[in-house]
């Protein structure tokens, strides 16, 4: 950390006694580049496996950025290249505007929270958290002070003298966070940090991590395979598949405007209807499905008349009605099965050979079983063209 920071922290500390954000944040003057991390056309090849395939991502300062994808999609390898554990086969990684080249991990201003936490088992919590500062040659008294601060930040000051194996998974996770944050890195890298926690704790930690990130004002890059986690926490998401980045966008963009079938399928639930594009009319495209039904949806990039296309429509955006109302995308279907899940009722309907999911929100409190559709009943399905996407194949 440059000396300037300490002076700012010193001035700020009496004023913002317990405001961690102030004490931990990186001063504006320190930011050289608009982007905290940039991957420019980065590839990584292991033997004959292309783990990361020409990936370009620009992560803004103080952004909570998720690398999302199924296992083996290249997201962890990307993170490891940013950390410096792997060197790109081609392309370049910039941290704060500086090309990293072969800079070893111990000379990069980033810190990692490992999936397994990787706490040093032979050191106490205190020693673990202080390790980074000790390596940087920070004075003993300064280490004690900052370790205390960091442990308070993750709400574990009482466990300073414990060894990692004497703590629960959730506590170890917090220690791993404190150990990384205490160094006030430019970027914090998190490799599936919540993967080993049980569902309830994971939900808690999601909120806590997000709050923490806002407080400390550090760029977080977060690897996860859990789409809900990515949607909940991130400012922006990069969706990976087979080493490539398919889409980068805000959770809203990724969910509402997926540009590929993979992204539409991987994020949330959706229905697909395959067919041929009949015509493209401005924003909308008409698609012939099964040779006899025309569906209208929002035309996404690359949709051309005569080409193959997939309509993607989310189950919560589809309605079932008893009578046709003359709207587009309205066709008769047969109810196959229904599942009442409390907040909504999930109906599976058959439209020719297609199965579609329809989620109806239970906005009425009723005990009347006749309120719901029953298996075997006829119904009419409808959805608004602007709520469906036509994806080119």
């Amino acid at each position: 950390m440059p000396g300037g920071f300490r002076i700012i922290a010193f001035i700020a500390s009496p004023v913002f006694e317990r405001s961690w954000g102030r004490q931990f944040s990186i001063p504006e003057a320190d930011a050289l580049s608009e982007f905290a991390v940039e991957m420019r056309d980065v590839s990584k090849v292991f033997g004959d496996v292309v783990a990361v395939d020409h990936v370009s991502i620009s992560i803004r300062q103080k952004e909570f950025f998720a690398l999302l994808g199924p296992s083996g999609c290249g997201k962890t390898t990307s993170l490891r290249m940013i950390a410096g554990f792997e060197r790109p086969t081609s392309g370049e990684i910039y941290i704060d505007g500086r090309a990293m080249g072969g800079t070893p991990p111990f000379q990069r201003n980033v810190n990692t929270v490992f999936q397994s936490y990787a706490l040093f088992p032979h050191m106490t919590v205190e020693q673990n958290v202080g390790f980074g500062l000790e390596m940087k040659g920070v004075s003993k008294s300064e280490i004690v002070r900052r370790v205390g601060e960091a442990l308070e930040l993750v709400r574990l000051p009482q466990l300073a003298k414990r060894y990692p194996r004497q703590m629960s998974g959730g506590q170890q996770q917090r220690v791993a966070l404190a150990r990384a944050l205490v160094n006030r890195p430019k970027v914090l890298l998190l490799d599936e940090p919540l993967g080993a926690l049980d569902a309830k704790l994971r939900k808690e930690m999601q909120i806590e991590l997000k709050t923490l990130q806002r407080e400390v004002g550090i760029t977080f890059i977060f690897v996860t395979h859990d789409q809900e986690e990515a949607l909940t926490m991130s400012d922006r998401i990069a969706v990976f598949s087979k080493g490539k980045v398919l889409q980068i966008g805000t959770p809203l963009e990724i969910y509402e405007r997926p540009t590929t079938r993979f992204v539409a399928d991987f994020i949330g639930e959706t229905n697909f209807l395959e067919g041929k594009v009949k015509e493209v009319d401005g924003e909308f495209a008409r698609v012939l499905v099964n040779g006899d039904r025309i569906f209208v949806g929002r035309a996404m990039e690359g949709v051309r008349p005569g080409g193959d296309a997939t309509i993607s429509v989310r189950p919560e955006k589809v309605q079932l009605i008893e009578q046709p109302d003359g709207s587009p995308n309205c066709y008769e279907v047969q109810v196959h099965s229904i599942a009442y899940v409390g907040s909504d009722t999930r109906v599976l309907v058959l439209l020719g050979s297609n199965r579609l999911g329809v989620w109806e929100q239970n906005t009425v409190s009723t005990l009347d079983p006749n309120y719901f559709f029953k298996p075997g009943e006829k119904a009419w399905l409808t959805f608004r063209p602007e709520n469906a996407l036509v994806l080119a194949q």
């Binding site: 554990f85 111990f106 990692t112 397994s116 390790f131």
Partner: protein, 306 residues
């Protein structure tokens, strides 16, 4: 109810332990006590233990301790009674054993590291290769080693073929050192390998990530975490080295003396059982103290690892 269960349990444990306990008492503790008793006895005209009881044997070892730093490691030291060179003998034994332990460690570490990084299949093969020497009698292997180092043995033949001066290796301290390192290598490799195999390499990445370069990551993270293997290997190498007899006899040709060899001489050539017993007991005490100090030095880290 619980009480009887506990009693029965402890009875069962006692039952399970009794063969081992019997073995230790009969073949270790009692002989040790006999040796201790003998060390306080005089010798008869044939050199065997006889009354009266005396402290003379210990006094003989201690009395000539001089604070004379002009100790030479050269010149084969043969055992002459009452010569006052026992301190040097002890010291030289500890020193040689220590050096041999360090050399063994330096050779064993890369081997164990390499083995631990192999795939499972090759790892087992490597383990098998390390253990192969145990299938041949140690004495035979030492003779083979003697043959290797001989004036017209393979090493010198090779040197001559390369146009180099042949080396006078056999019956030198170097030969003893080679013998000790060779003999103890598997005992260092195996415990080291066990520790390294369990070692989580993410720890090194974590240390690097926190600003530690390779050397500091090794010092602060790897070394403490593999210290159980390091300690076990060092003890298993140091203790046999200090008491070694066959190696000193065959590789040193009696010209490089070590305490184990000197003691053996007391029971054979010199026939002075009480004096030999006193030397044995004294050496045991020294080695035990050294081992305890050594273990203590790494105890804090050890406790966290185990």
């Amino acid at each position: 109810m619980i009480q009887t269960f506990r009693e029965r349990r402890s009875l069962r444990i006692a039952g399970l332990m009794s063969p081992g306990a019997f073995w230790l008492v009969a073949f270790f503790l009692i002989p040790l006590l006999i040796m201790a008793v003998i060390s306080f006895m005089s010798r008869d005209q044939f050199g065997f233990p006889a009354p009266p009881f005396t402290l003379q044997n210990y006094w003989d070892i201690v009395k000539d301790i001089r604070l004379n730093p002009s100790v030479s490691l050269e010149g084969g030291l043969t055992v002459r009674l009452f010569d006052g060179l026992y301190l040097e003998l002890f010291w030289r034994s500890i020193w040689l054993a220590l050096i041999s332990t360090i050399i063994t460690l330096l050779i064993a570490f890369p081997v164990a590291l390499f083995m631990s990084r192999l795939s499972r299949r090759y790892r087992n093969l490597a383990l098998f290769l390390v253990m192969i020497p145990f299938w041949t009698n140690f004495l035979v292997r030492t003779y083979a080693l003697q043959f290797m180092l001989r004036g017209n043995g393979p090493i010198n033949t090779l040197l001559r073929a390369l146009g180099l001066e042949p080396l006078d290796l056999l019956f030198t301290p170097t030969a003893v050192m080679i013998g000790l390192v060779y003999g103890n290598l598997p005992f260092m490799i195996l415990p080291l390998y066990t520790s390294l195999e369990k070692f989580d390499w993410t720890m090194i990445e974590a240390a690097n990530d926190l600003g530690a370069n390779t050397l500091r990551a090794f010092q602060r993270v790897m070394l403490p975490l593999i210290s159980p293997g390091l300690l076990a290997g060092s003890i298993l190498t140091f203790v046999p080295a200090i008491g070694s007899y066959i190696t000193v006899e065959l590789m040193g040709g009696g010209r490089t003396n070590m305490i184990g060899y000197a003691i053996a001489q007391q029971f054979s050539a010199s026939v002075n059982w009480p004096f030999g017993s006193a030397m044995s007991l004294l050496m045991m005490i020294i080695v035990t103290i050294a081992a305890v100090l050594y273990f203590r030095s790494g105890r804090g880290e050890q406790r966290a690892v185990l």
